[in-house]
Symmetry: C2
Subunit: 119 residues, 2 copies
């Protein structure tokens, strides 16, 4: 029941594409991530995924369109939908999804980040 300040939390890590948990809401986690460059194409078959841009610009490619989000914008990627996040320069996002979701979804591989890293 303590307020969590996003700016302060972002100061506590530098690693990109490595989400850090800042809060839990029932069985969901609120995570912060710093993103830059291209991620891998992937999908999450069991859950939707929410991205809220705190700072910078986030592009999410879908197979049939591209979404570009600025600060103060959010998007929900529906379950099963292939997507690829990318950012020209570092962007800071808040991600909300159930506990235990793998960042690389069905793709797996070397970009898979550890879960449950709190900051």
């Amino acid at each position: 029941m303590k307020p969590v300040n996003l700016t302060e939390k972002f100061r506590l890590f530098t690693e990109q594409w490595s989400p850090r948990v800042i809060a839990e809401l029932n069985d969901y986690q609120v995570k912060l991530a710093k993103l830059e460059g291209d991620f891998v194409w992937h999908r999450h078959d069991d859950t939707d995924e929410l991205f809220f841009v705190v700072e910078g610009e986030l592009t999410i490619e879908f197979r049939d369109r591209t979404a570009v989000l600025g600060a103060g914008e959010l998007i929900v990627v529906p379950r099963g939908v292939e997507h690829r996040p990318r950012a020209e320069s570092e962007c800071r996002v808040m991600i909300i999804e159930p506990r235990g979701v793998r960042n690389t979804g069905d793709a797996g591989g070397e970009r898979t980040a550890a879960n449950d890293l709190w900051v």
Copy 2:
């Protein structure tokens, strides 16, 4: 799969203490609300509740302490914990919780808002 701009959505309603849904994430809803003045003491026995302050200052009283949140700060009120939100001047918040939660929780009464009002 369309970006949702919080500032634009806030422009579309003026009513205070009347949350508007802007997105759904599995069985959770993302809502925006404009809050000013004192709300009623209440609790949600079945769910945690997340408040993220977009603009202004939000105070949440608990029975044994008080939390004050500014823009860019969030708090999770655990299930079963009595709380009373209030704001000296209008503040704008994003609320995330499961679909179907009553804003006045166990208290009910005249401050109960309609659910599933999208904006």
